[in-house]
């Protein structure tokens, strides 16, 4: 296992982070605990969760993922300081997050702007469910303002009077750091403008500096490279890449005429990775992988895991054997020929799943 530092801190994280958002839905508690133990056995020390999980979102299950992680923390007996636990506080839900199953209005009666009340309630709930005194990394799950970080290539300006300023959000996060409830802060589903505001607020108001940007990134969704990779390098706030397999789309299992019965996109269809251009690109990447004796999963995960602007790749699997396969796939070497083949497909069909 390889490790890197979070931002400009000395917090060492494994380059593979365990994603947990299916714990409590597709993955039951005993399988979840087995995954957590397996991950740690392989050198993973970085576990990412969120108050909102599991997905798909439902009023009755919210928080279950953190509870499952919390019970494992207690039962495993692993010293707390051996692990880097990250979680997230919800913001006002954008249309792209409100799915067919939920509006998220059940969280704090819908009062979820990124202000002091919401953030404090968020961290207190997470600490309680996780059964710990602190989280290592705390992240607003998505921006307070309307923007284009979720499933939208283009930016359409909307004015919103209710928006909480980033400086206010960061000041609250800074208080949590001072109180020892949070070690460092990061952002998620952010844009270059938002990242710039966080960095500037930390410079100007002597507030904590963000250490990471947790955004979707995979062969079908490389928009991070357009505007954020330069920030990652020049400002040392690296990518925590979520959805490296595009919700399983980049395993190739949805290329068959008949969709696999138990799989996630069969049970919960999602337009991000199933539109024609995404399917075309997936087919092209699958052919490239075959030509070089790789599985599509290996091609996809090794590509994301070796991006120089990425601090870690978040792996979420519904079943244990997938997790084991995915951890191994992240560590496959890609030859220059494979990388140039990837570039050619990207050049021809860039970002079909933004």
């Amino acid at each position: 296992m390889q490790y890197s530092m979070l931002g400009r801190t000395d917090i060492k994280v494994s380059r593979i982070c365990l994603g947990t958002m299916m714990f409590g839905e597709l993955t039951d508690e005993s399988d979840a605990h087995a995954q957590l133990s397996c991950a740690v056995d392989q050198g993973i020390n970085f576990i990412d969760t969120a108050e909102m999980y599991p997905v798909p979102l439902r009023p009755g299950t919210m928080g279950l993922t953190e509870e499952i992680v919390g019970r494992w923390l207690k039962q495993s007996g692993i010293p707390r300081d051996q692990l880097v636990i990250s979680t997230k506080v919800v913001g006002p839900p954008p249309r792209e997050v409100i799915g067919p199953t939920s509006t998220l209005a059940y969280i704090r009666e819908g009062h979820t702007h990124l202000d002091a009340a919401n953030i404090r309630a968020g961290i207190e709930g997470s600490l309680k469910r996780l059964g710990t005194d602190y989280v290592d990394l705390f992240q607003p799950h998505w921006p307070d303002r309307p923007t284009n970080s979720l499933k939208k290539l283009g930016y359409i300006h909307e004015t919103d009077e209710q928006v909480v300023q980033i400086e206010e959000t960061l000041a609250v996060l800074g208080e949590l750091v001072d109180e020892g409830k949070v070690r460092v802060v990061g952002v998620s589903n952010e844009t270059p403008w938002g990242v710039a505001q966080y960095l500037q607020a930390s410079d100007e108001a002597n507030l904590p500096r963000i250490v990471s940007i947790q955004n979707a990134y995979n062969l079908l969704c490389r928009t991070f490279e357009i505007g954020l990779a330069e920030f990652a390098h020049r400002e040392d706030c690296g990518l925590l890449a979520y959805s490296p397999l595009a919700m399983g789309g980049l395993t190739g299992k949805y290329l068959a005429d008949e969709l696999p019965a138990d799989a996630r996109l069969t049970r919960y269809p999602h337009p991000r990775y199933t539109r024609p251009a995404a399917v075309r690109a997936t087919g092209d990447y699958a052919a490239l992988a075959r030509k070089h004796g790789l599985t599509l999963t290996e091609l996809a995960l090794a590509f994301t895991a070796t991006r120089p602007f990425a601090t870690a790749t978040i792996l979420g699997a519904s079943r244990m054997e997938q997790l084991v396969e995915d951890i191994a796939a992240c560590q496959v070497d890609l030859s220059p020929e494979v990388l140039s083949g990837i570039d050619a497909i990207h050049h021809d069909n860039s970002n079909p799943g933004p």
């Binding site: 270059p192 403008w193 505007g227 251009a277």
Partner: protein, 346 residues
């Protein structure tokens, strides 16, 4: 022709501007003068040039000729006060070694020397908008969708370039400043530095933007709105690909991409997308160039769109279509093509 404020500056510019980079190569001086007169007669006041022009560069024999043509016209027509004159300082590149013996690091000396050369050729004592043609550092603003970091590079800092530009503003040699071919990180540096000191604030960002290249929307559209930095869009016709003249693989003999093929717009994906957009325009009974121009000028983050043409009749055609109205149905068709083939020409 409508006019709007350029960013938060005092300048008011026409919603379309005149691009001049072919003046002195494909466009001779008589045609250049006729284009300038035609544009101004149509209410265009933004005239954009660069010390490097005409293109294709490098050509030590012709470098600066575009500015000289404009300077000659300004003097002959007496229209200096009626135009917003914009030009650019080059950065270091393999194709700028013939300019100032390759001393183009965007430090204080090169920025100042560049503007003095431009003022001489333009025969004026100030430019309205002075722009950095591309960043000093290696980044992904030109023909590269993704950013690749080079930790060994030591480029002149944006702070030094901005200090040099600000001095020129204080001296009255430039009324406002802008950037070109910039990324989100670079734009933020300019804005942040201006907020923290008495340095000049950039008014605009001049980047390529068209139906074939909408990456501005991914990372810069939000800056444009929230920080009041207007986009001056260039290459809105994808070097002619979106006019339909190259449709079906036909390469007209005098056309630019026939004379000077450019990988930005001749990749298979760019050709496929261009054909789809041209077909969509015809299906809606709209002129393809008009659709391409109208799409750009109707984007809310676009302050002005540069029209460049080889001939006066092309320019007149494009000026007549500057505010082509696009129906919701047509916009829907455009978005469907964009979703299927996004940004084939970064």
């Amino acid at each position: 022709m409508d006019h709007v404020a350029l960013g938060r500056s005092d300048l008011r510019v026409s919603r379309v501007g005149l691009g001049t980079m072919t003046f002195g190569k494909q466009t001779d001086e008589a045609v250049a003068q006729a284009q300038l007169a035609c544009a101004v007669d149509h209410g265009v006041n933004l005239i954009d040039t660069g010390e490097m022009y005409p293109v294709p560069a490098p050509d030590p024999q012709t470098q600066g000729l575009t500015e000289t043509f404009i300077g000659n016209w300004l003097r002959a027509s007496g229209r200096r006060a009626d135009v917003v004159l914009a030009t650019k300082v080059v950065g270091d590149a393999p194709y700028t070694k013939h300019i100032r013996d390759g001393q183009n690091s965007l430090d204080r000396t090169s920025v100042r020397a560049a503007l003095e050369g431009s003022l001489r050729r333009l025969q004026t004592d100030y430019v309205d908008l002075y722009q950095v043609h591309w960043p000093a550092r290696t980044t992904n603003a030109l023909m590269q969708l993704g950013y690749r970091h080079d930790p060994t590079e030591h480029a002149v800092s944006i702070a030094e370039t901005l200090e040099a530009l600000s001095e020129l503003v204080v001296e009255g040699k430039a009324r406002a400043i802008g950037v070109s071919n910039e990324t989100a990180w670079g734009l933020w540096q300019y804005l942040r530095l201006a907020e923290h000191s008495d340095l000049a604030r950039i008014a605009s960002v001049q980047n390529a933007y068209s139906l074939l290249n909408r990456s501005f929307e991914v990372a810069l559209g939000e800056f444009s709105h929230r920080d009041g930095v207007g986009l001056i869009a260039y290459q809105l016709l994808g070097m002619g690909m979106l006019t339909g003249k190259y449709a079906g693989g036909l390469m007209p003999s005098a056309a630019r991409l026939t004379l000077h093929p450019h990988p930005r717009y001749t990749s298979p994906a760019a050709v496929r997308a261009s054909q789809a957009y041209v077909a969509l325009a015809y299906a809606h009974g709209v002129d393809p160039a008009g659709m391409a121009i109208g799409f750009v000028t109707s984007r809310p983050f676009v302050t002005s769109a540069l029209l460049a043409a080889t001939t006066v009749s092309q320019l007149e055609h494009n000026l007549a279509h500057w505010d082509t109205q696009l129906s919701d149905e047509l916009i829907g068709g455009i978005e469907a093509i964009h979703a299927d083939i996004s940004n084939p020409s970064p």
